[in-house]
């Protein structure tokens, strides 16, 4: 399930780790000399008998290096194991039982995370006296806290998942849910946590030993560097053989855990996956088949459609081959006309909208067809032309418009930005225009300085509509503009959209999964199914004539409702 680069990184990490472990296990059997024995004169250069030379008192550095692997890895891994054990227990208890246990544990974790870890370790280690056990305990003490925190938040997330609540609703007890649903969901996360802890553990062992807080009776890479530093190894010519090998060994060991952790974490959190293989930039991806450009400007009175889409195809390249999301779709939109496009989720509507705006992102790519807007093929525009076109001639009201506003800017700023991208006017003028636009969509100018999170969903949707209309576009693509809103708000937004459309004589592509919504706004309707347009028909006062069996089924599923009393508009 991993992306190729993560697989590659993970494999590399695994290979290094295996090598280091072998070194640690087989060390005593392959070292040529006892590392504690003084076997040669000091500062011997590397030779066949002393592979890495000797140190200042005449011990063989190569033997020292190999024997050190044991202690360094042992301290790192054992302290990580202890920390994982405590972290997992604390995280599970806090996340599952909550209450006072959670309060106490999490306070403890917070305190632990705020205390400076290295000085804390040093202070504790000094009072406990140097030694392997001290090192392991002190390191474990420091690294359990972030794991507990992470685990707890994972448990809390898992508890809110639908299937856990479903089991609870069926009547399952705490132990059943913990065993059957929570543990299987949380366990995959423990392994990357452990790997990360081992990584930290090795580095900390190194730091502690380097500061002289290691066990003086055994050797570790950090100890080697401690001696090298305290005897000013870098002032001699021997530094190359004395400093480099232990440092490289530490780096490789830590690196192996880092890489492994990276690959594992990507596996359990798919969101982190990057589309490495299809990394081509969006522009070049869209230019797979360059299309001839026809630059003639169009007479507004001509019967030529404003937008003419011919045989448009879009594919998503996946590991299992290409999936055709939009399949030879043809349609056209005249000036001032509303084309409704109806299709269920996965029918390719949104992909088509993205293709029209040239917003397709890899792995999606245009594989054929033309999109002629006022005579120009959209796919052949360069970056500057595209920038001039977007919002200025064709505007998008995106799906889930609730998230389409940047949370850190005021709505006025986001409107002004859209205006200034296309109009050469002063900022103060743009602000005035922005306030006009807000009024146009029914928001009083005193809300102009509000941040998106201070507005309700319906208000945010209105702001997005105002942005789309900021530069008097001739075509608006509205992709599910009312989905996710409360029913009453939905009706209001729809009212606003149709009103603006007829007042500003906009051409509009109105995309929705909801046939009844589309029928209430569209002049013409196209039904999409599995990437194809299967039916097109004109709409007369809300009625259309389905030809395809699928559209007949859709029509049959239309809600029926009638009130005997006409309801007065409030």
């Amino acid at each position: 399930m991993n992306t190729p680069i993560a697989r590659y990184l993970g494999f590399t990490g695994f290979a290094i780790l295996v090598f280091m472990l072998l070194l640690a296990i087989l060390g005593p059997f392959i070292v040529p000399y006892d590392p504690n024995e003084l076997i040669a004169p000091a500062f011997q250069p590397p030779s066949w008998s002393y592979l890495l030379g000797t140190n200042d008192i005449g011990q063989d550095i190569f033997s020292e290096l190999i024997m050190s692997a044991r202690v360094s890895l042992l301290v790192g891994v054992v302290s990580a194991l202890i920390a994982t054990l405590f972290g997992v227990i604390a995280g599970l208890v806090a996340g599952y039982f909550g209450g006072w246990a959670e309060t106490i544990l999490m306070r403890l974790v917070d305190v632990k995370l705020t205390l400076p870890f290295l000085p804390l370790m040093i202070v504790v280690a000094v009072f406990l006296g140097p030694g392997l056990i001290t090192q392991i305990l002190v390191i474990a003490l420091v690294i359990w806290a972030p794991m507990a925190r992470e685990l707890r938040s994972q448990v809390l997330t898992a508890r809110r998942r639908g299937f856990v609540e479903a089991a609870e609703a069926i009547g399952a007890g705490g132990r059943y849910i913990l065993r059957r649903h929570l543990l299987p969901n949380v366990t995959p996360l423990i392994i990357p946590q452990f790997v990360r802890a081992a990584n930290t553990g090795i580095l900390m062992e190194t730091s502690l030993s380097f500061l002289g807080l290691g066990d003086p009776t055994v050797k570790s890479w950090g100890m080697m560097l401690f001696y090298a530093n305290s005897r000013s190894a870098f002032l001699t010519d021997a530094w190359l053989w004395w400093l480099l090998p232990p440092g490289i060994c530490i780096t490789l060991s830590v690196l192996s855990f880092s890489l492994l952790g990276y690959a594992l974490e990507e596996r359990v959190r798919p969101r982190l996956r990057t589309s490495w293989r299809f990394g081509a930039s969006e522009r070049s991806a869209n230019k797979v088949r360059p299309l001839k450009r026809e630059p003639q400007e169009q007479d507004p009175e001509s019967p030529e459609p404003l937008l003419s889409v011919q045989q448009l195809s879009v594919e998503y390249v996946t590991a299992n081959g290409a999936i055709r999301a939009v399949d030879s779709v043809s349609f056209s939109v005249r000036r001032g006309e509303v084309l409704g496009i109806v299709g269920e989720s996965g029918s390719g509507k949104t992909t088509m909208a993205a293709a029209l705006m040239q917003l397709l992102k890899p792995p999606g790519r245009l594989t054929g067809g033309r999109m002629l807007f006022a005579g120009n093929d959209l796919a052949s525009l360069d970056a500057a032309e595209l920038k001039r076109l977007r919002n200025n001639r064709i505007a998008l009201i995106p799906q889930a418009a609730m998230n389409a506003l940047n949370p850190v800017y005021t709505v006025q700023k986001q409107l002004v930005e859209a205006i200034l991208a296309h109009q050469k006017i002063r900022r103060s003028e743009a602000r005035i225009r922005a306030n006009h636009l807000l009024q146009l969509v029914g928001i009083t100018p005193d809300r102009a300085r509000a941040y998106p999170h201070e507005l309700s969903g319906g208000m945010r949707q209105r702001v997005v509509i105002a942005i789309a209309l900021a530069n008097n576009p001739s075509l608006v693509i509205a992709d599910e503009p009312t989905t996710g809103l409360d029913v009453i708000v939905q009706a209001e937004i729809l009212e606003l959209l149709t009103d603006l459309q007829s007042r500003l004589e906009l051409a509009m592509i109105f995309i929705s999964h909801d046939l009844s919504v589309v029928l209430s706004v569209a002049d013409r309707i196209a039904i999409m199914l599995e990437g194809k347009i299967v039916d097109q028909s004109s709409v007369n006062s809300g009625v259309f004539h389905p030809n395809h069996p699928y559209s007949q089924r859709l029509q049959a599923a239309l809600p029926r409702l009638k009130s005997k009393h006409t309801i007065p508009f409030s």
Partner: protein, 342 residues
């Protein structure tokens, strides 16, 4: 040490949260103080050894009793604890065994040097890490991104002091470009341009070391955070508005991606002081970190505890700084704003 997990720490500022935060910080200081108070009393041996060092061995029983009384060690543990807290509040941290001077005096002397070294390092590391991380995320999946990522993971895996030792071996010893030792020239008077140049020259290698040691985490965090924001709807909306690629990248994606990175940078101020311990040791730099090492070597317990307390307070100061400045960056964390649920 997390490579790809973006951890946003929410910092909203309602009065209740503020109260929780402040009590949290007070709690941390109390824990640090308690550790300082308890450890010498729990550790094996006579607590006098931890207060007077080796001198304590030469005392006879009567002298011991006298010192016990003078130091209040014959009183109840609770009373001792109270005395200790009171002393700390009046900046009385005891006397250093090695230097024979008040601990607080030594700390005040050493602190500016550490600040001088860490200040530039944190700025450099943040700027470089953020810019490179943003670029890597923007060009994700390409060769440049892959090699930067690999390089940064490798850099993250190196012990910081080892980086420092290598820099000394190459740039100080072999090439002779920079001095490797201390913060001030051995000879020459204080003040004057030459003095400052000399101080700056001595800063180059330690600052580079800390920058290299911390740049990785800033890079990885920025990259991961950018990858998240690049998928957000408002970034697509910014593109659909007809903004230039640069405006989309910097004003919309990076602006939001910076929020967790900013928290990380301000918090790492405290962690850096910890990291400075080994680096200052390598460069024999007269900062607080080196002082910690010296006190470990000399088993100078009062000094050791004083340094620990100072660093703890430094970390908390960094936390407070992060708390106070974060709302400037994120309007959602400002007081008085309430989110309306749609």
């Amino acid at each position: 040490m997390h490579i790809s997990g973006v951890r946003t720490r929410g910092r909203s500022f309602s009065s209740r949260r503020l109260f929780i935060r402040i009590s949290q910080y007070i709690l941390v200081v109390c824990v640090a103080l308690t550790i300082n108070f308890t450890l010498p009393r729990l550790a094996p041996g006579d607590p006098l050894n931890y207060i007077l060092g080796d001198e304590a061995n030469s005392l006879n029983a009567e002298q011991r009793q006298q010192i016990y009384r003078e130091l209040g060690l014959d009183r109840s543990v609770l009373q001792q604890y109270g005395d200790y807290l009171l002393g700390t509040l009046t900046f009385d941290l005891g006397d250093s065994i090695r230097f024979g001077r008040p601990v607080s005096e030594i700390l005040v002397e050493r602190l500016p040097w550490t600040v001088l070294m860490i200040g530039p390092a944190i700025i450099l590391s943040a700027l470089l890490g953020i810019v490179l991380g943003a670029l890597a995320a923007w060009k994700r999946g390409k060769a440049g991104d892959a090699s930067l990522l690999t390089g940064m993971i490798i850099l993250e895996s190196m012990p910081s002091f080892w980086i420092g030792m290598l820099l000394i071996a190459v740039f100080a010893v072999n090439l002779g470009w920079f001095p490797s030792f201390g913060a001030v020239p051995f000879t020459g008077t204080e003040g004057g341009l030459a003095y400052f140049v000399e101080v700056a020259r001595r800063l180059v290698l330690p600052v580079t070391t800390i920058t290299l040691a911390t740049i990785g985490s800033n890079f990885l965090l920025t990259r991961a955070s950018m990858l998240n924001t690049l998928g957000e709807d408002y970034v697509q909306m910014a593109e659909a508005k007809g903004l230039s690629e640069r405006a989309v990248l910097f004003q919309h994606a990076l602006r939001n991606a910076l929020l967790p990175v900013y928290t990380n940078v301000t918090l790492s101020l405290g962690a850096l002081v910890s990291g400075a311990v080994t680096v200052e040791t390598v460069f024999a730099y007269p900062g607080v970190g080196r002082l910690l090492y010296e006190s470990v070597l000399a088993r100078d317990y009062p000094l050791l505890q004083g340094v620990f307390l100072l660093i703890t307070i430094g970390v908390i100061a960094a936390n407070v700084l992060a708390d106070l400045t974060y709302p400037l960056l994120d309007p959602r964390a400002r007081s008085g704003t309430r989110s309306e649920v749609s």
